[in-house]
Amino acid sequence: MEKRIPAWLVLEDATVFKGWSFGAEGQRTGEVVFNTSMTGYQEIITDPSYKGQIVAMTYTLMGNYGINKDDMESRRPFLEGFVVKEYSKVASNWRSEKSLGAYLKEHGIMGVEGIDTRTLTLHIRQAGAMKAVISTTDLDEKILADKAGNARGLVGVDLVREVTIDKAYVWSRAAVKAKKHFKVVVLDCGVKYTILRELMRRHCAVTVVPAHTPAQDILALKPDGLLLSNGPGDPAAVGYVVETVRQLMGKLPIFGICLGHQMIGLALGAKTFKLKFGHHGANHPVKDLRSGKVYITSQNHGFNVQAETLNSRKVQSTHVNLNDGTLEGLRHKKFPLFSVQFHPEAAPGPRESEYLFDEFLQMMQRRKGKHA
């Protein structure tokens, strides 16, 4: 066998998993989470919401179809590390441009293979998400367990500032021929490109602005609607965005996704809490309480809005997770404002809840009609 570089994953409770490096070498800490998607590692790796996290895939064979230029979800990978059972050295797909290992190395991201990710998953499921270190250096259980314990974790940390952009940019302009189009401002807390692609596909002129953009600057762009994006970490640590949302509620149509949903929840006076091990996968059943229909959704969140803390006079619960009963969506009874905890843009995962983007357009249409 060719020479392999040992790489270890050590949890804060001193549980050790020994494997081999297939990405960059070095040492990184983060919260380790498991993801149950069987396809879509490229989208997962490039999803900024994984900032601060080491992602372990439960499906055992990764790298099979390589990396291509079209399936990027952001400008670069933000996650802290990628942990798999077996990394395939050969990538086979007509769109593949490079191997997963080469891509990770290029961006300085560690990849560890040879890990029993099922045992790791069981451990996290029982003990809860925990801090961890992955390392090709200092291969000493005690030293690494201490480093894992001293890692910053997610609670109370503003990770949005680490993934948002510095300057606003235009993603798409309105097509001249489009009969009706809307101008949407996307507040980038770590936005996935497919959210922007879904808006563009619906002929929206999309401007992406940094997470710290104040409310009056957003209003100055005269948008038809505001989209609050997904993003990493603890929503309670991103008070400045919650404040922006509070000031804009009722002033223009707002659609929140994932972290955006949590920040809407906070702006409405609800509380958020950290889930034991989060939802990370592409097979979560969510019921739309308005139609009774069940959608298989893509999910990636460690925090959740506490349903009981929502003011039911002002806010309606629209979606619920059928696995654990947690809140998955809400809608304001008076303001044009709604949000979902899951990912209607999918990528990876089933695309069947993209109807929510249509609902956002309808919301902007109604608003525009009223003011026209």
Partner: protein, 554 residues
């Protein structure tokens, strides 16, 4: 929606005798259906001509008719039993055909029997080639290109437009002369002429050949509320051209990106809706061009199929059982997941292992049969193996076939430590065994790698995806190291061997030892199997009634 109370008695049609293409998988699905409907309080009547089945055990249905499964006989049973409903989707093609026959003869109408699971219109739309094609075109799904021709000149124009290889099917032939394949202009000229001449109406259908394309299947379920879920994706190691029943297949799909997989998922959902299978499972097959990614729909089975049985065992999601519940009005969100109990059946299983199915052939019992694998099924059974990796599952599967192979045994070499290029005749035989699909092709691939042939060359020769070939090559590469190391193997290398699915017996053969000795050595190094769960959810939730497979981990 709770279960229906307007139906009380349900007739289930079994699959009849075991034949190639229709074996015990339909006994498995039918038995599950009988049991669950009985539990739900329905009066279950069963007809199946095969008494050597579980489903015909006296306690399975309330009344069992061991009679020929013909329209005439089932009509008599209906006249006597007066069932409220007929469930034809769990007894394979036989049951489906019988249901269509009963409907066409007006039997169902006469006795007021409702078809549940899939209605007659959906069955016809799914099974009739032209109706199916029209339905797929309507929803914008791509199909293999085809066109009709009545003269040679027309045929040449069509051929030029579609491109080779081409399938030529004469319409309405006496004795049902089948289609032929033309790979070039020469062959086409000859075959098109024969085709037009043999057709009673002088018409041929010229169809794009998708032989050699990548082949995939999705198992889909739908309920009366129109919730649709994908239970399992399957990728065939053998490309298009070999019947799925004769193909080595792998779950889940390995070489599709999420974008490509979702496109296939969307297509499968659109397909089940358009065909109109109201409740239960369907199996939908796709072909994907390996260089361009063009995806075409091949066919759909509007019923529980051989692949559903595989998908059920591969995921822990009991398709037939759930299909029976859906047929009587339950919806997916009302049924709980058998294994976790607390989460609903309305979800898509996440698997954290690799499943390989290998067909089992008995050509020794059919010495006259052409052993080349084609589009008609020739295997008499199959094995399913579960491992953490493809390599492990593949080797486990090979030794489960009970054909005295314990992994990648060589077909050519007696001494694996001394591989020399064989004579020309053997090389020619090897090339032929690689080019033409056959029962032993997998083992010949092992020999090809032993001879130093590379993945690209073998991909060209076999059409098998490079991903699968590369993993087979890794197995053979490790064999070389194991032969060099001998029994003085390091713990690391032996662990890798076990992770690659090598059995102690194979290693004993490599090293000239006894199996017990290798086992003892392995244990002394602390390398022991672990048992992991098939739990539908990749360990995300607690499993109450899982089943297990053995594997090795670091």
């Amino acid at each position: 929606m709770p279960k229906r109370t307007d139906i009380k008695k349900i007739l289930i049609i079994g699959a009849g005798p075991i034949v190639i293409g229709q074996a015990c998988e339909f006994d498995y699905s039918g038995t599950q259906a009988c049991k669950v409907l009985k539990q739900e309080g329905y009066d279950v009547v069963l007809v199946n001509s095969n008494p050597a089945t579980i489903m015909t055990d006296p306690q399975t249905a309330r009344r069992t008719y061991i009679e020929p499964i013909t329209v005439e006989m089932v009509e008599k049973i209906i006249a006597r039993e007066r069932p409220d409903a007929l469930l034809p989707t769990l007894g394979g093609q036989t049951a489906l055909n019988t249901a269509v026959g009963l409907a066409e003869r007006g039997v169902l109408k006469r006795y007021g029997v409702e078809v549940i699971g899939a209605n007659i219109k959906a069955i016809k739309k799914g099974e009739d080639r032209s109706l199916f094609k029209a339905a797929m075109r309507k929803i914008g799904l791509d199909l293999p290109r085809s066109d009709k021709a009545y003269t040679l000149a027309q045929a040449y124009t069509v051929a030029e437009r579609i491109g080779f290889p081409l399938i030529i099917r004469p319409s309405f032939t006496l004795g049902g002369t089948g289609g032929s394949v033309a790979y070039n202009q020469e062959e086409f000229k000859r075959l098109a002429k024969i085709g037009i001449e043999s057709s009673m109406i002088g018409e041929i259908l010229i169809e794009e050949s998708v032989a050699g394309w990548k082949e995939f299947e999705l198992e889909v379920m739908r309920d009366t509320k129109d919730n649709v879920v994908i239970i399992c994706s399957i990728e065939n190691l053998d490309p298009m051209g070999v019947h799925t029943g004769d193909s080595i297949t792998v779950a889940p799909a390995q070489t599709l990106t999420d974008r490509e997989y979702q496109r296939m998922r969307d297509a499968a959902i659109a397909c089940i809706r358009e065909i109109g299978v109201e409740t239960g499972g369907s199996n939908i097959q796709f072909a994907v061009h390996p260089e361009t990614g063009r995806m075409v729909v091949i066919e759909m089975n509007p019923r529980v199929s051989r692949s559903s049985a595989l998908a059920s065992k591969a995921t822990g999601f009991p398709i037939a059982k759930i299909a029976a519940k859906l047929a009587v009005g339950y919806t997916l969100d009302e049924i709980s997941n058998d294994i976790t109990r607390e989460t609903p059946a309305c979800f898509e299983p996440a698997i954290d292992y690799c499943v390989v199915k290998i067909p089992r052939f008995t050509f020794e019992k059919f010495p006259q049969a052409d052993q080349t694998l084609t589009v008609s099924m020739k295997s008499v059974g199959e094995v399913m193996a579960i491992g953490r990796t493809f390599k492990e599952a593949l080797q486990k599967g090979l030794r489960s076939l009970e054909i005295k192979h314990y992994g990648f045994d060589s077909m050519i070499f007696t001494d694996l430590a001394d591989i020399r290029p064989p004579d020309q005749a053997t090389m020619d035989m090897l090339h032929q065994k690689l080019r033409l699909p056959n029962a032993d092709r997998l083992l010949y691939l092992g020999d090809a790698f032993r001879l130093g042939m590379d993945v690209d060359t073998l991909h060209q020769m076999t059409g098998i995806d490079r991903w699968f070939l590369f993993h087979i090559k890794e197995i053979i590469d490790l064999e070389k190291e194991l032969l060099v190391s001998g029994a003085a193997v390091s713990r690391e290398l032996l662990t890798s061997a076990k992770e690659y699915g090598y059995s102690d017996r194979q290693l004993a053969k490599f090293w000239g030892k006894k199996e017990e000795d290798v086992c003892a050595l392995r244990r002394s190094l602390g390398i022991i199997p672990h048992f992991k769960l098939v739990d539908t959810c990749a360990a995300e939730f607690q499993a109450r009634t899982p089943y297990y497979y053995s594997t090795y981990e670091q």
